[in-house]
Structure formats: structure tokens, C-alpha cells
């Protein structure tokens, strides 16, 4: 090869045999071919639509959707198609985010357990991993929904926890705290902690117990004031109750959401487990030995040396898993969870605007995946080897 290259440098071949020129020409030809292909497809589509008497346009998004959506941000059938689309988009983001968090936790736990010296933990983890990794994710989702959740008792005879939380085939209903609880608690902590600090500075002679009591009274005063002025009880609980056929009030997590969530988590979690295991196994043994020899404990060696090295090979693969998860979330349709794809398909069908709505759906998934990529690349930069 080297002798050939030397030869090239001495006498340049004619341009039609010059590898560099050929490469550029081929690239250009390829680009032209792709462009021609795309334009023909586009032309074909426009002709096809025109022939069927259809036209492109996004005006329909203002029209009233007229169909119901079971869950998500507040919405009624009188709202527009665009609002319905947003409901689906938010639902997709919601189920994706929760799944990503849970599957990461599950993946790390399983991955580390598979490397553990504990025989039982190792076997359990590898059993779980092999089961869920080798079954199609759609099957897992349908299994969770139809076999597990729909197999639960009916809503009126569901499991109940102190008549406050209920678990039935309709999902989970739980007491929900008032919306002002969290701000009130934050304010109480700030006031209590602040007065404790101030008392310590201004009255260092004060007995610690008294200072504590005064801070506590301050905090309680906040709660009392909120109570008195907002007219709401910050500690009130909205407890679900059986009204008519359904549990009403409180927080509700539907069986459909749980089905798609657990399906995605079980599947993606096991893939992440393998990535985590691989990441740790890729750390050279010598690193641990070196860390131990400079006097770090086993725990610190793991935390300060091994984990940071392992993360470098884990994070790029995690990115792929997160993106796959987001795309897989479109399988929610199979269990009736109104995600972006499900609601989008309904809009396509009810409005007749196939091309427009599918374009919107594709762009939404693209944007979500690019956002995840961006975040993960940023994280990757942070843990990358700092080269001096």
C-alpha cells in the first residue's frame, strides 16, 4: 500500500482514475440521486393527494377535536386538534421521563448485582435480565396490562390501604395532598431554620432548647398564616372515594400508564443492566488494585476510581437506550394509553390529514430524541477523561 501511494505522488493518474476526485464525484452523484429520489417521492405524494382531491394544510388544527382523551393535562372534547396533540405529546414525555428514571435505577441495581459476590443476588439478577431481555417489548407491555393489571380485582373490590389508597384493575388511586402543601412546607423550613440560625447569632446565651421551641413556633405560625389567609388547609388530603362507578378525587395512576411504564422499564432496565455490567467489567483489574494499594477502602475505590472509569463507557450506550425507550413508548397504543402516537393516529383518522399529522408526530419524536442526545452528550463531556 505504501509503495502504491508513493507511486501516486510521483506521477498523478488522469482525473478519472484519481481516487480523490472519484470520491468527490461519487459523493456529489449520490447527493443528487438522493435529492432526485426525495423530490420524486414528494411530487408523487402531491399528485396522489391532488388526484384524491386532497390538499395539504395545517388549518384543521384549530378545529374542535370532538373525541375524548382519558388522561393527561386538562382537556375536553371541545378543545382543538392541536390541544389534543399536545396532550399526547405531554403524555409521551411523561411516560418516557418516568420510565427513563426507573429503568436507569433498575439497570444499575441489576448490573451491579450481576457482578456481586453474593451468589443469590447474582443468579436472581441474571435470571431477570435474561427473561426480559429476550422477550419482545410489546409482549411484555401487553403482559403487564392484560395479565397483571386487568387481572386485578374490579374497582369496587380492589385492594385498599386504610381506605385511603386503592389498587384495582383501573389502576392506583391515592390520597393527594393539597397543591399549597409543598410551598407551605418549604416556607416553614426556611422560617424555622432561619430563626434558629438568627437566634444562634444574636442570642448565643439562649438555651438551645428554647431556641428550638421558638423556631418551631415560627414555623407553625407560617402554617397558621397560610391557613388563615389562603382559606385552604395546607395539610388537607384529597382522598379518593367511590362515586357511582369509579373512584373519584385524589391522585390517580391508570392501569394503562402502569402497563406501558412497567413494560418499558422491565425491558430497557435489563438492557441497561447489561451495559452497566459491561462498563464495570471493562475497567482494568489493575485500577482497583492500584486504588486499594494507595489505601482507599473498597467503597471509596469503587466510588472514586472504578465508577468514574466505568461511566465513560456506560453513558454513550445509555443514550441509545433512552432514545430506543422513547420510540418504544409509541407501543402505548396497544394498551390504550393516550400517547403522542395514539392520539396522533386518532387525529389522522378523524381529521383525514395523514401527511400533516404524521409529519408532526415524526418531528416531535425527532425533537425529543435530539434533546435526549444533547443532554447525554453534555453528561458525556463531563465524565470524559480530562486530557492535559
Amino acid at each position: 500500500m505504501t509503495s502504491l501511494r508513493d507511486h501516486h505522488d510521483q506521477t498523478r493518474p488522469p482525473f478519472w482514475r484519481d481516487e480523490r476526485i472519484i470520491r468527490i464525484v461519487l459523493q456529489a452523484l449520490f447527493l443528487v440521486a438522493v435529492a432526485v429520489g426525495l423530490s420524486i417521492l414528494y411530487r408523487n405524494m402531491v399528485i396522489g393527494l391532488a388526484k384524491a382531491g386532497l390538499d395539504l394544510g395545517f388549518d384543521f388544527l384549530k378545529n374542535s377535536a370532538n373525541f375524548g382523551i382519558s388522561e393527561g393535562i386538562p382537556y375536553t372534547p371541545a378543545d382543538s386538534y392541536f390541544k389534543a396533540f399536545i396532550v399526547g405529546l405531554v403524555n409521551t414525555i411523561w411516560v418516557s421521563v418516568v420510565s427513563i428514571v426507573l429503568s436507569t435505577i433498575m439497570g444499575f441495581a441489576l448490573g451491579v448485582a450481576r457482578l456481586s459476590s453474593n451468589w443469590l443476588a447474582r443468579q436472581l439478577a441474571s435470571g431477570l435480565t435474561e427473561i426480559f431481555r429476550n422477550i419482545p417489548v410489546l409482549l411484555i407491555i401487553i403482559y403487564w396490562y392484560q395479565a397483571v393489571f386487568l387481572g386485578l380485582p374490579q374497582v369496587e373490590s380492589g385492594f385498599s390501604l386504610f381506605n385511603m389508597a386503592y389498587f384495582s384493575q383501573r389502576g392506583l388511586a391515592y390520597p393527594q395532598p393539597d397543591v399549597i402543601l409543598l410551598p407551605t412546607l418549604v416556607l416553614m423550613v426556611l422560617v424555622g431554620w432561619g430563626s434558629w440560625k438568627l437566634l444562634q447569632r444574636w442570642r448565643p446565651d439562649l438555651n438551645e432548647r428554647w431556641a428550638g421551641v421558638i423556631s418551631l413556633v415560627g414555623a407553625l405560625l407560617v402554617a397558621g398564616l397560610v391557613w388563615a389567609f389562603s382559606g385552604r388547609d395546607p395539610f388537607a388530603l384529597d382522598v379518593p372515594k367511590m362515586v357511582g362507578f369509579n373512584l373519584q378525587g385524589g391522585g390517580q395512576i391508570s392501569a394503562e400508564f402502569l402497563g406501558i411504564l412497567l413494560g418499558l422499564v422491565a425491558y430497557t432496565g435489563t438492557y441497561i443492566a447489561e451495559i452497566v455490567r459491561g462498563g464495570f467489567q471493562a475497567v482494568p483489574k489493575g485500577q482497583r488494585e492500584a486504588a486499594r494499594s494507595i489505601g482507599l477502602s473498597e467503597m471509596n475505590a469503587f466510588r472514586l476510581v472504578i465508577a468514574p472509569i466505568a461511566l465513560r463507557s456506560i453513558i454513550p450506550s445509555l443514550n441509545t437506550q433512552y432514545q430506543t425507550l422513547i420510540k418504544n413508548s409509541s407501543l402505548a397504543t396497544a394498551v390504550g394509553y393516550p400517547d403522542l402516537f395514539g392520539v396522533g393516529s386518532i387525529i389522522v383518522n378523524q381529521s383525514g390529514k395523514t401527511v400533516e399529522v404524521f409529519t408532526m408526530i415524526m418531528l416531535s419524536y425527532l425533537a425529543l430524541n435530539l434533546l435526549v442526545s444533547l443532554g447525554m452528550n453534555w453528561l458525556n463531556e463531563r465524565v470524559k477523561l480530562v486530557e492535559r
Binding site: K51, A52, L150, F245, A334, V348, T354
Partner: protein, 359 residues
Amino acid sequence: MRSTLLAWVTGIGLVLLLNSLIVACSTESTTPTGSPQAGGTPGPARSTLLSTIQGRGQLICGVNDQLPGFGNVDAAGKYTGFDVDFCRAVSAAVFGEPDKVEFVPVKSANRQTAIQSGEVDMMSRNTTWTLTRDFEWGAIFAPTTYHDGQGFMVKTARNIDSIEKMDGASICVLSGTTTELNLADAFRARNLKFTPVVFDNDDATYAAYDQGRCDVVTSDQSSLISRKSTLKAPNESAILDQVISKEPLGPLVSQSDPVWADIVRWTIDSLIYAEERGITSQNVSTFASTQDPDIKRFLGGEGNLGQLMGLAPDWTAKVIASVGNYGEIFDRHLKPLGVERGLNDLYTKGGLMYSIPFR
């Protein structure tokens, strides 16, 4: 290096080949009415799609595969049902035999794309004829083959006897249907709340209802009747008398080939006409010597009705001999389910079934 070059060249070759194919397709599709086939029967009917189907040797028909009585797959793996037989009727009209059909199962939510993309030549799948679908789907509806209305099936234990008592109920419904829209309208009009539980296929919808996920399932009465028999405990469910909509169900085709739409339309009408005139699959052959000019013209013994459409002169005889008349199709598939003729009886018997004159 040579291998990369080769790969590039093949790649580009492939793309170019694909493009030429696409060009071929697009030029074909730009001419909705082709020239009369060489050697074929000359005449005014020129359906490009008809010649495409005849060339292919098969009619592609979108059907439901989850609705016993209307469209489903039997134990032998064969498509069967009321809707399915209209595909067979069109096959008999086009080919002279009923079984040259490739059945494509289509979900309710995918009907529009199947029609718009030309994936199917026709759709015979309990589809309601509405103005939006006519225009936004770019569809042409054949005559209504089943006059239906939207109803509700409830668990008898829930003590629901009207929509007014369904406030707050969970209701199973199929996505992308008129049923889904009527449901929202009905509850909005009455200022009631409901939680829709939406699936994209019949099996999932009725499984969820059967297991108790929903208090109510709503669909066309015909679907409810069909699926009630498949429930675990049919006696614990009841179909309410309350009907909230008109659902004219029938086959449809893309409006890109109006002549093809006419062929499907007249095939359906031939079934109704045959019942009006008492022509059945059993006795159709005895009409060969009929002196009734109307029937003679209908069966191709006189005039050129078949030729006008680009079909064989005896196409109606083939259709009736293959699948029977409308009443026979109805009795074969829907009578066993306990469905009454009602609105779907002939106009002469108080129903809405009425054929356009064959002349």
C-alpha cells in the same frame, strides 16, 4: 478500495433503479383513465384500477378480522362474514369467480391510510359513511349494506339503563371511529363526564370490557351483538335500547378512480336487485330462458350493461351464483347472531334496501 468503489456504484445503481420505478408508478398514477386495453372489450368504461386488478389476477380487499358475523377468520383460516362476502361479490363480478381476493385485515384507525395510499382496492369493513370521510379521506362510498346505529353494552350488575345514568363511567371505545366522536358528543350534550378507554382493535376493546376495566362499551349495535356472543359471560351483559346515531355502513373505495367506484357500487346494487326480483344462488340458472326483459337485461341476456362497465356480459349471474343475493348473504351470516332484518329489509317490506334500476 475497489470493494468500496463497487459498493458505491451498486448503491447509486439501486437508487437510480428505485427512482425509475417510482417515476413509472407516478406517471401511471397521473393518468386516471387509461386507454382501452388492447384486445379487450371496447366501450366507454375505462377503469385503470380494473385493468390493474385483472392483470394482477386478484382483488385486494380491506376487511375486519375481529368481528364474527361481519368479518373474521374462521377455524380453517378462511375469511368469512357479511362484509367479507361483498369482497367476494366484487371478485365474482371482475373475475367470474368469488375467491380471487386477497384479504387484508385493517384496523379501524388505519382505514383512511389504506384507502388513501391505494393499499387496498376496496374496503368492506363496517365503516360509517360521513361527510368528513367522503371528503377528507378522499373516499367514495358504495351503497350502504347495513343500516346501523350506535348503542351501548353494559354490565347488568351496574344497573345502567340509559346514558343519563353513565355519569363518571369508564367507557371502552375503538379509536378512529365515528362511535368515538358520537360518544363525546352525547356526553357533552348531556353535561356528563366519562373516561374513554381507547384501543385500536376490537379484540383489545372487548377484552378490556370483559375483564371489567370499563363499565360500558359503545359501538355500532351490530358490533355489540356480534361481540356479545364472544364474551365470557354473555348473560351478564345487556345491550341498551338507546341508540344515539345513524351509522350507514358500507364498502368504500378511493375517489381517484370513479369508474372503479361505479363497478363496486353496481355490484352491491346487483345483490339488492337480485333479491328484489327473487333471483337467488339456487335459481339463478333457471332464469337463463326468462322472457322478462328486465331480468334478461340484468343477467346479460340482452343489452350491454356488462360491457359498459368493462365486465363480462353475465357478470351479475356470476355474482349471484357465487355469493347469493343480499338477503342470502344477510341470512347466512347475521341471522345466526339473532340480527333482525329491520331497516335492512327491502323497501318493499318496510326497510331501506333499494336498488337503482338496471337499464
